[in-house]
């Protein structure tokens, strides 16, 4: 081939390297912010850097982080799922209700207790599958479908439980919600494993890379031989199943399924994802970034709590904190958020 094409600028080779490094660093953009928060926390409170406190932060964030993992993948593929937070409540509530007798608030179906976990996962698959069916096969707006599901699933849970908390929770849930493995709570291990698998899949598997192609340009992805609908459907189902796992962990940790379990989490989920560099327009961002978004929110929250800000104020100031975090990351990463 012709040699006359060689780029005119002698300095292109280093620029390639530079660009590459920059792309790598963007993934780690929040790490300095997280370190800064650790330092601030340590200065403000002597117990901040103790293992117990840090483990507490991780445990508190574990459920949120699973939702963010699911949502991040859904956002990368160019969709969104608002109903995740209702799935967090409905799946364990329905599974438990199918097992316990009506005297304890159940449905008197009397399924075996060991079925609790598989049943939950099945419910997650069904919800994600239904979302996918309505969006991909019927061709409805993803935003509206999942907004509708958000309301409907929550309503379903209220109807089943008549608005009461279910306290007769199966052993398997309690075990997962409270046990520790090698010094870390099981919930934290589960998150670590899920994120590790997710990061690996999205980086090293063709199926994972196809999420970026679909989110970036679904027509081009289709023309390149990617089965767009199938991939999106699977991602929606995985998102729902991750929400179910979060719901199981939450139920186990609290020892009951509250009628409001998961309510309001979707705001934090989106906040963490966007702070972590996931684009709401699809095709951009990494799961590592999303995870750092979760950690950042967790640290801010814990600092406020240790400062003795009352629970009421934590709630009140949470929106402000998230907007502040968005501003901080906007300038820390130098990237416009989408």
């Amino acid at each position: 081939m012709t040699k006359a094409m060689t780029p005119p600028v002698a300095a292109t080779a280093p620029s390639e390297k530079q660009k590459f490094r920059l792309a790598r660093y963007q993934d780690l953009a929040l790490v300095p912010v997280i370190i800064l928060l650790l330092v601030v926390g340590a200065v403000l409170s002597p117990i901040f850097l103790t293992p117990n406190n840090l483990i507490a932060v991780l445990t508190q964030q574990s459920e949120l982080s699973l939702l963010v993992l699911g949502q991040a993948m859904i956002l990368i593929v160019g969709k969104m799922d608002l109903s995740l937070e209702s799935t967090v409540g409905l799946a364990p509530a329905l599974a438990v209700a199918l097992i316990i007798p009506s005297s304890a608030g159940g449905l008197d179906v009397g399924l075996a207790a060991w079925l609790a976990l598989p049943l939950c996962v099945l419910i997650g698959v069904a919800i994600g599958g239904l979302n996918g069916f309505l969006i991909l096969k019927v061709g409805l707006s993803g935003f509206m479908v999942t907004l509708g599901m958000l309301t409907m699933l929550r309503g379903l849970q209220l109807a089943i439980t008549e608005g009461k908390s279910l306290i007769d929770v199966p052993e398997s849930f309690l075990y997962l919600g409270s046990t520790t493995w090698l010094g870390l709570p099981a919930a934290v291990w589960i998150c670590i494993v899920c994120y590790a698998v997710g990061i690996f899949v999205l980086k090293y598997l063709r199926a994972g890379r196809s999420l970026y192609a679909i989110g970036g340009n679904s027509e081009a992805a289709r023309a390149a031989g990617i089965r767009v609908d199938r991939v999106v459907w699977i991602v929606l189902i995985i998102g729902s199943v991750l929400a179910v796992i979060a719901g199981i962990l939450m139920t186990g940790r609290l020892g009951s399924v509250a009628a409001t379990q998961g309510e309001g989490m979707i705001f934090q989920v989106f906040a963490a994802a966007v702070i972590g560099g996931i684009s709401l327009n699809g095709g951009k961002g990494t799961l590592f970034g999303a995870l750092s978004g979760v950690l950042m929110l967790g640290l801010v929250e814990q600092i406020l709590r240790l400062q003795g800000v009352s629970g009421f104020y934590i709630k009140a100031s949470y929106g402000a904190v998230i907007i502040l975090a968005l501003i901080v990351t906007r300038f820390a990463t130098g990237q416009k958020q989408e």
Partner: protein, 491 residues
């Protein structure tokens, strides 16, 4: 009045460490059609973005009729000086033609929008510039040609007397190009100045009076078109003496072994087409934009579902409407529109080039190596395999699409406008790739109106209204083929 409609001096523009323009200038005399040519990545579109106020140059100045250009922030002021038809359309598809013509001034100065007045103003504007579209038609329903005309009419109605056309002919068929040129000539008679960018040098000779050549971000020469022979022009563009040598495919070994068999295929906009391609055979498909040639090719690759008929590769039937099945069967494709279907702009060159190749695991180092190979073998001008495709110039993006189509070593190639937006020299090497693939025993279908693309073919089928109406074997004369294509489309 100044004799120059637009002048740029000492313009330098960097993207990271890529120097896109290196102290270049251009002087465009009022009332002329000025051609800007150069190889892919020479900096033409970057100059356009500087001349239209889309991007501020790092250094240098722009003047219009002697007046310094407005600041980059004041886009309204720029619009009064200069208008541009970019290769990607800038009209709003879901609004009517009338509203697009008066976008952001729909009230016509009255404060409230009067839809009736808007429509009547729009139809008189369309009449003035002789554009035959209904003012209340949605822009999304227009053809590419009509959309370009609406954009030109809008530009002129804002008061600009200087219009930039960045590769306007790349997506038009022959008669539409002729109509565009007639319009350019008549507007030029009314005092409009054009800056015209194209990779088809004969078009430069047809409509322009002056030509400027850029190469590797630098200004090489500006001369009267009449004083510049085609070989001189090509030499200025490439920096090498010697004309072009588009491969003709003569002496390619033929074989009787059928690779691709299409049996009475019907689908969107075409019906009952049968053809078979043997090892080493390249078949051209020509015809107007509405002839169904694109739809036929897309159906063969599985982008569209056939309504009837079968496609088979090496004797095995391929499921219709299923791209992965087509890829598995060994069909590779360059789709029609690189922005729409060809590329994921935010992803890297390496990732785009390897997107169709099967294999569950993606090793970044192997992917980068494959990207590097693609850059080297298709003459892509880029900083490296990690560069996002959105940073590349139009022609270089097209080469990445070609690299992707060939990545899986398919036995059948379906190439739709494979050289769209590609410079003369790279066209030669891309067509050389097609020829080389055929010599290795692959079969190819080339869908194009460009004679250079069709010259590499063993036979050319002309489509009209979804049917094959004529077949030319090698050795056709240009005029013969052109009139077959155009005669059909005007009938």
């Amino acid at each position: 009045m100044n004799e120059f409609a637009a002048v740029a001096r000492g313009v330098t523009k960097r993207f990271g460490r890529t120097l896109a323009l290196d102290d270049v200038g251009i002087e465009i005399r009022a009332g002329e059609s000025h051609a800007l040519v150069g190889r892919n990545g020479a900096g033409k579109s970057t100059l356009v973005s500087v001349l239209t106020g889309m991007q501020a140059p790092d250094a240098g100045e722009v003047t219009f009729f002697g007046e310094p250009a407005p600041p980059v922030a004041d886009s309204a002021a720029w619009r009064r000086h200069v208008a541009c038809v970019y290769q990607k359309s800038t009209v709003v598809p879901e609004l009517s033609v009338a509203e697009n013509l008066f976008i952001n001034r729909q009230d016509l100065g009255g404060g409230l929008i009067s839809w009736k007045k808007l429509r009547s103003e729009a139809s008189s504007l369309l009449e003035t510039y002789d554009v035959a579209v209904r003012p209340d038609a949605l822009v999304s329903t227009l053809t590419v040609e009509q959309r370009q005309l609406v954009e030109i009419a809008r530009a002129l109605s804002i008061g600009s007397r200087f219009v930039i056309l960045d590769e306007p002919t790349a997506q038009l068929d022959g008669p539409a190009i002729e109509r565009l040129f007639d319009r350019m000539r008549s507007l030029q008679d009314r005092g409009v100045t054009f800056l015209f960018i194209s990779h088809h040098l004969q078009e430069v000779y047809e409509v322009c009076q002056t030509v400027t050549v850029y190469r590797d971000a630098r200004h090489i020469v500006t001369a009267a078109v009449a004083e510049m022979s085609k070989p001189d022009l090509i030499e200025a563009m490439t920096g090498e003496a010697g004309g072009l040598n588009v491969p003709s495919g003569d002496g390619r070994p033929s074989s009787a072994e059928e690779v691709l068999t299409v049996a009475s295929l019907s689908g969107d906009h075409f019906s009952d087409i049968s053809l078979s391609a043997t090892r080493g055979e390249v078949i051209g498909l020509a015809g107007s934009a509405s002839s169904g040639k694109h739809e036929f090719a897309e159906t063969v690759y599985g982008l569209r579902k056939p309504s009837l008929g079968t496609i088979s590769v090496n004797g095995a039937a391929v499921r219709g409407g299923d791209v992965p099945a087509a890829l598995r069967a060994g069909i590779g494709c360059v789709p029609r529109d690189r922005h729409h279907q060809g590329l994921v702009l935010d992803l890297s060159i390496a990732e785009n080039a390897t997107m169709s190749t099967a294999g569950a695991f993606v090793w970044p180092s192997a992917q980068r190596a494959a990207g590097g190979t693609a850059i080297a073998s298709y003459d892509v001008k880029a900083a490296g395999p990690d560069q996002p495709v959105s940073d590349l110039s139009g022609g270089n993006q097209q080469k990445v699409v070609m690299a992707r189509a060939l990545a899986g070593d398919p036995s059948v190639l379906v190439l739709i406008n494979p050289t769209a937006g590609v410079d003369v020299k790279s066209k030669e090497s891309l067509l050389g790739v097609v020829d080389a693939q055929a010599r290795r025993g692959k079969a190819a279908i080339v869908v194009s109106d460009e004679l250079d693309d069709l010259r590499v073919c063993d036979r050319v089928l002309v489509l009209f209204h979804g049917q094959v109406v004529k077949e030319f074997s090698r050795g056709w004369r240009d005029q013969e083929l052109i009139s077959a294509i155009e005669g059909m489309s005007t009938e």
